[in-house]
Structure formats: structure tokens, C-alpha cells
């Protein structure tokens, strides 16, 4: 009864997508979540989905994710579902505020175009046409891809959870893995805080910011650290812009939800709090307001309805860590670095294919657990 083909530890987007994809391929899967699905980083993210990354691996993963989000939207707006996943392709606009930023974008765009991504560098005039509410401050242009988009993290998780149930998978919420048993460096089983034992030949660590803790249960040290990032959301307003707008000088990124009209956004602080701090800082609300008002002055009288904090799972090079560890059957799929939600669907599919020994067009080698963490994702 307590034996499965695969056990997934952690019910965020990666764990849910992977459980769903494995179940779809006929595997008997158990998902163990210490809180409720989405209680960690996924439920705290702002729902942006972009393909504009700087390495071929990430770009290709994200191009596949966008296809999956589209399919999910089509399926979930048909029978049996009520609200879809709030998928909307409004694009992403990265503002260039200096010649240096412009030349960085131009070189990345070359790689992106080689991967087949419809991205281009646009001058200030064109950017102002796409986003008329943008302030004519001293930006000079930007990198723009109109097939990037947005989705609702809660609805996407619900889509996966419904699918897991349909495929006969098991989800244990409010259950914590406290021990992982191995046998001659081969994975064996997990013990939960409820005292139950579940065995499987494949156990996958998708615990996001807690992935390090879970790996330590088998004596593996993962270079994944939790880092606090804050976000806020406003009341609904009339449509002011289509794309997610990203600025690095200073850091500020935000989008308008197509389905509600609310503006949601974040910035990356100079020195983010390390660890599991989840309180709002006194700096964030006034500082974010200043930064976003410099870009979109029309937001001046808009009310903020809520702000909160979540965790990025930071790896040394800003890319996820995916693969089987030195313990046979123990896998790591974690380290979203703030991109976990958007990477989730494609990573879930790719890893499921790998485990089921299916051919996959997308290589996960770039994210190997054994790689040297030398470069750094340029579009953080």
C-alpha cells in the first residue's frame, strides 16, 4: 500500500507539475507537502512568464513552458473548469536605461533569436507606442518580446492538482518528511512526521527554498539559499499597459493582471534578507511606490491593497539544479531563482520524460547538479 513508483517532496509548481506529468505517464505517484500546495514560493510569486533569458537552456525551457501554458489555458477554459488559468500574452518589455544596458540586451537578443524567439530591440519611440502610459524619463529603448505573458499561480496549481487527482495520484498536505532512508547509496523510503513510511525507487526533492534541508536528510549539500523578496498588489484600474515592464536602474518590475486590472510588482533589493524572513520591510512599500511612479506616473492615486514577502531559491549562477544525485534514485529539481513558476510546466514535463526514458527535444544538461557554477544568468 505504501509503495509508489515516485515520491515527490514539496507541493509548489515544480512538485505539482512533475507529479502531474509522471501520473499522466502511468506512474503511481505520491506528493508530500509540509503545508498546503502553493504555501511556499509559488503562491507568493507575481505570475510573470517570459522567455527572455540569456542561456539557450533557459530560453528553450521557457519557450516550451509558454506552449504548455497555452494548452493549459485551452483545456481549462473548456468543460469541467470554470475559470481557466488567467493566461494572457501581453509581452515583456525590459527597459534599457544606458548604452551599456542596450549593448547587453543586443548581445542576449542574438542568442534568443538563434533559439527562435520572436524578440527584438526597440527604440524609445516604439516603446512609448506599446506603453503610452510610460513616463518619458531617461530610458533609451528596450528588449521586447510579445509572446511572453502572465498566468495566475493559484489557478495553475489547481489545474495540476485536479489533473493529479484524475490520474489517480496521491497528495498528502500538512505532512512533513522528517527522514529519508537509503540502502547502499540507493534511495529507499521516506518517514513523515505522522510516523508513516512510504517507499519508492525514485524520490524527487522539489522543496524549493527548503530543498537544501531535504537534501541534508541524505547528507547532500545543495548550493540553494532562501532569500526574501517582497511584492505588492493594487486595487483594479483601467488598462494602463499590456506587457510586464522590467527596469534595472533601479530595479523595479510589474505588470497589470489582464483578468482583474490590478497592478502587481516587486523590486530586487540591494541586499536581500537571507533565510526565511517573511515579514514585510518598512522600506518596500514607499520605495516600490517611488520607483513605479517614476515609470508610470498615472498610478499616482491608486491604492495598494496588500503587500507580502516570499522566497527566491537562489543558486550560485541563477539557474535551477536538476538531476539525479550521487544517491541512486534521489533527484533534485529545485532552485527556481525567482523563475520557478514560469519554468515549472516545462521542467515538470522534461524531467518526467527523462525518468520515463522518453525522448526529449530539450536538454537539461545546462542545469546539471554537477556543473561548475561559473556564469551568471544575465536577465535576473
Amino acid at each position: 500500500m505504501n509503495t509508489f513508483d515516485c515520491i515527490i517532496i514539496g507541493g509548489g509548481i515544480l512538485g505539482c507539475a512533475l507529479t502531474y506529468e509522471l501520473g499522466k505517464r502511468g506512474k503511481k505517484v505520491l506528493l508530500i507537502e509540509k503545508d498546503y500546495p502553493g504555501a511556499g514560493s509559488t503562491g507568493r510569486c507575481i505570475g510573470g512568464i517570459r522567455q527572455q533569458f540569456s542561456t539557450p537552456g533557459s530560453i528553450k525551457i521557457m519557450m516550451r513552458s509558454v506552449e504548455i501554458f497555452k494548452e493549459m489555458h485551452e483545456v481549462s477554459t473548456k468543460d469541467g473548469y470554470t475559470s481557466g488559468i488567467d493566461w494572457h500574452q501581453g509581452g515583456y518589455l525590459f527597459l534599457a536605461c544606458s548604452e551599456k544596458e542596450k549593448s547587453q540586451y543586443l548581445s542576449i537578443i542574438k542568442t534568443q533569436q538563434e533559439c527562435g524567439l520572436p524578440v527584438k530591440y526597440i527604440e524609445k519611440e516604439e516603446a512609448l507606442k506599446i506603453v503610452p502610459s510610460l513616463n518619458e524619463f531617461d530610458f533609451i529603448g528596450g528588449a521586447y518580446c510579445n509572446t511572453d505573458g502572465q498566468a495566475n499561480p493559484f489557478q495553475v496549481l489547481k489545474f495540476y492538482l485536479d489533473g493529479i487527482e484524475k490520474n489517480g495520484g496521491t497528495v498528502l498536505s500538512n505532512t512533513k518528511v522528517v527522514k529519508i532512508n537509503t540502502n547502499n547509496n540507493i534511495i529507499d523510503s521516506v518517514i513523515t512526521n505522522t510516523g508513516d513510511k512510504f517507499a519508492a525507487p525514485i524520490i524527487i526533492n522539489t522543496a524549493g527554498p527548503w530543498a537544501k534541508e531535504i537534501a541534508q536528510l541524505v547528507g547532500i549539500e545543495l548550493p540553494i539559499e532562501a532569500e526574501r523578496h517582497e511584492a505588492l498588489i493594487t486595487e483594479p484600474t483601467k488598462k494602463l499597459f499590456e506587457p510586464m515592464i522590467v527596469c534595472y536602474s533601479p530595479s523595479c518590475y510589474f505588470q497589470q493582471f489582464n483578468h482583474t486590472g490590478q497592478i502587481i510588482g516587486c523590486y530586487t533589493p540591494e541586499d536581500p534578507a537571507k533565510g526565511f524572513e517573511r515579514n514585510s520591510s518598512s522600506e518596500f512599500l514607499p520605495e516600490f511606490s517611488n520607483r513605479i511612479l517614476k515609470l508610470i506616473p498615472a498610478l499616482k492615486d491608486l491604492k495598494v491593497v496588500r503587500s507580502w514577502a516570499g522566497w527566491y531559491e537562489i543558486t550560485p549562477d541563477g539557474s535551477p539544479i536538476i538531476g539525479e544525485t550521487e544517491i541512486k534514485g534521489f533527484w533534485v529539481v529545485a532552485g527556481g531563482c525567482g523563475h520557478g513558476f514560469m519554468f515549472g510546466p516545462a521542467i515538470g514535463e522534461c524531467v518526467a520524460k527523462l525518468i520515463c526514458k522518453e525522448d526529449s527535444e530539450i536538454s537539461l544538461d545546462e542545469f546539471s547538479i554537477n556543473r561548475k557554477f561559473k556564469s551568471k544568468e544575465a536577465m535576473k
Binding site: R278, N279, S280, S281, S282, L285, P286, S289, V304, S307
Partner: protein, 357 residues
């Protein structure tokens, strides 16, 4: 600041005055243009013991307390919202939005007396214009002199439902009936008697099923219910009314408590979630206190006593003031005495559940 008090109702005003009396620099923040919280719409006289404002109208209590606060030198910010409580490197700050700007004010102690919000009821067409919370009706009639309609169906026979019904009749608005889900009237006998003398029908063991109307309320269908709150077949009755007034309880307004990361607990007797607190109203965060309806739904007299206790205890803790002892023991004694009767049972049970933590 030494102490920031959030909310200028009976609890917040008492807390601010008490803290100021003990020598603290106090800032009182309230989002309304008029101070007093729910007191400003309470045109009825209080009853009970003399030290608990017997014979004085709520609106006058607000005025007297506000005058006291001003004379004593409490700083008051009206039309200003406290939107965040921050505790960084052992320094507390409150984020406040005034009509002009956002500011972060440093403080040693914080007393949150943000009150409560009205409960909604689920029934068909409950979003038709003409359906109000009892507090909104009371504000329209007693504060602004505006009639919400001509024929009111009151839902709920607790003290608020009874008092608002009586006040509507005084204002020349016909209350066509009061319905109550429980088998008996919920409020004090003294209020229920007034209602009976006016001849308002009270339907106990009844609930509202549907609001009728296209553009606004034109009537309501009510139904008799059994012990399990299931409607009894063929007991439906149509009531002719243009206002449906919901007096079905309150829920503590706890957003700031959650944001401040106070340990929270769900206690049905207190109206929902509130912050765990000890008998001195201190939350799980040192220097952060609560008082009044936010700490559990009760009424104005207990709110004022809690305000006194929270004000004195917060000064005692954050400024190490020894003079607070007498106030604390006196107010705690009065509060226990006030809650000793059958009407204090819910509060007693609820508060006990919290303090067990």
C-alpha cells in the same frame, strides 16, 4: 513617539488618555474625519453603573473623551490610516498614510484598537441596492440624517438589531419586522421591551431566503427554520419592505495584526480570528497591545476598560512606568465584574481559550 494608538473608538480613546496620564507621548491615528468610532452613531443612553457612563449618550461619550484627550495633549491624526507595523532591529515603526503623505513613525509601544467589521449573510439577491449593514443604516440615520428607506426588515435581534430598529422608529422609518435565527431574542431585555411596546413583530427561528426586486429591494421572502437551521417546508412568508438591514454580528478587523505577524487564533466566541493575548492585552509581540472589538467582539464599556488596561500595560512595559499598577488592578477588577453576568459568558469563554496558549 512613545505610544501609537491605532483607532479612535472607545478602546483607542481610553488607551490614549490612560497612556498620556502616565506620562507617555501619545499619537492617536484614526481613518475617519470624526473621532469616536462606533460611538458617534450611538444616540442612545448607556445604562448600568455610573462609572460606566450610565445615562450618557454614546455620541456624548465620544465628545467628552476626545476633549479630555486634547486637553491632556494627545496628538491626534484624523483621516489617516495605519497601513503597516514594522519591527526591525528592535525598532518599531508604524506606516501611516495621511491625506497628504506617507510617513513612517518610530515608536516604543503600539496599541491596536481597529475595531470590527460587519458580517454579511448569504441569501439570494443579497447584492441588491437597499441591503445594508446595521452599522451603515445607523450612520446614515444618526450621523447624517438620511433615511435609507421607508420600510425596513431587520435581520438579527442582538443588541445592535434591537437598538437600530428602535432608532429607526424614532426617526419615523417603519420597521416592518425583525427576524432571528435562534429560538429567542438575542439582545438585552430592556431593548427587547422597547421593541415590543412599539409593536414591531419579531419572528424567532426565521431566516431570510430571498431579496425581491429588480433595481432595488421591493420585498423579502423569509422562512421558518428548525433546530439545524434547515428551512421548514411551506413556512415561507413574503414581507413588503424597501430596506433589508443585516445585524448579524461582527468580525474583528485583524489585517494589521496578521501583517505585524502576531500569533493568531480562531475563537468563534470572539467573532473569528484575533491575536493571542494575555490578560493585559499584550499580543505575542513585545510592546504590541490590542483593545476593544479587535480583541474579541463585545461592547463599548468593555472596550473602554480594555483600552485603559492596554494603555497602562503598554506604558508599564515600554517605559518601565511603575504608576500603572493601580490603574491596571482597578480596571481589571471592573472588567471581570462587568463580564461576570450571563451576557459576559461568551467573552469569558473566548478569552480563556486565548490565554490557555
Amino acid at each position: 513617539m512613545d505610544i501609537i494608538v491605532i483607532g479612535g473608538g472607545p478602546a483607542g480613546l481610553s488607551a490614549a488618555i490612560t497612556a498620556k496620564d502616565l506620562g507617555a507621548d501619545v499619537l492617536l491615528v484614526d481613518e475617519n474625519h470624526k473621532i469616536g468610532g462606533q460611538l458617534v452613531k450611538q444616540t442612545h443612553k448607556f445604562f448600568g453603573a455610573k462609572q460606566h457612563w450610565c445615562g450618557v449618550r454614546g455620541i456624548n461619550i465620544a465628545n467628552i473623551l476626545f476633549e479630555q484627550a486634547q486637553q491632556k495633549g494627545v496628538n491626534v491624526l484624523l483621516e489617516s490610516s495605519a497601513v503597516g507595523i514594522y519591527n526591525e532591529n528592535n525598532i518599531k515603526k508604524v506606516g501611516i498614510i495621511t491625506s497628504e503623505k506617507y510617513m513612517l513613525v518610530e515608536t516604543k509601544g503600539i496599541i491596536i484598537a481597529a475595531g470590527a467589521e460587519e458580517n454579511m449573510l448569504n441569501f439570494e439577491n443579497n447584492d441588491l441596492p437597499g441591503i445594508y449593514g446595521a452599522g451603515a443604516v445607523q450612520t446614515l440615520v444618526n450621523v447624517y440624517g438620511i433615511m435609507p428607506g421607508k420600510k425596513v426588515l431587520m435581520v438579527g435581534s442582538g443588541n445592535i438589531g434591537l437598538i437600530v430598529s428602535y432608532q429607526l422608529m424614532q426617526a419615523g422609518i417603519n420597521v416592518v419586522g425583525i427576524i432571528e435565527g435562534m429560538p429567542e431574542i438575542g439582545g438585552y431585555l430592556v431593548h427587547a421591551s422597547k421593541i415590543r411596546r412599539l409593536g414591531i413583530p419579531v419572528y424567532v427561528s426565521h431566516t431570510i431566503k430571498t431579496a425581491i426586486g429588480n433595481e432595488s429591494v421591493e420585498g423579502a421572502i423569509i422562512t421558518k427554520i428548525d433546530k439545524n437551521w434547515q428551512s421548514i417546508p411551506d413556512s415561507e412568508k413574503q414581507i413588503d419592505c424597501d430596506v433589508i438591514c443585516l445585524a448579524v454580528g461582527l468580525t474583528p478587523s485583524t489585517e494589521l495584526l496578521s501583517q505585524a505577524d502576531c500569533e493568531m487564533k480562531y475563537v468563534p466566541e470572539l467573532g473569528g480570528y484575533t491575536a493571542c493575548h494575555n490578560e493585559l492585552l499584550r499580543t505575542s509581540i513585545p510592546g504590541v497591545y490590542i483593545a476593544g472589538d479587535i480583541s474579541g467582539i463585545e461592547e463599548a464599556v468593555t472596550a473602554m476598560l480594555e483600552g485603559k488596561i492596554a494603555g497602562a500595560a503598554c506604558v508599564q512595559e515600554t517605559l518601565e512606568n511603575k504608576k500603572a499598577d493601580t490603574i491596571l488592578s482597578q480596571a481589571s477588577y471592573e472588567l471581570a465584574e462587568f463580564r461576570a453576568g450571563p451576557f459576559g459568558e461568551k467573552a469569558r469563554t473566548g478569552k480563556n481559550k486565548l490565554q490557555k496558549q
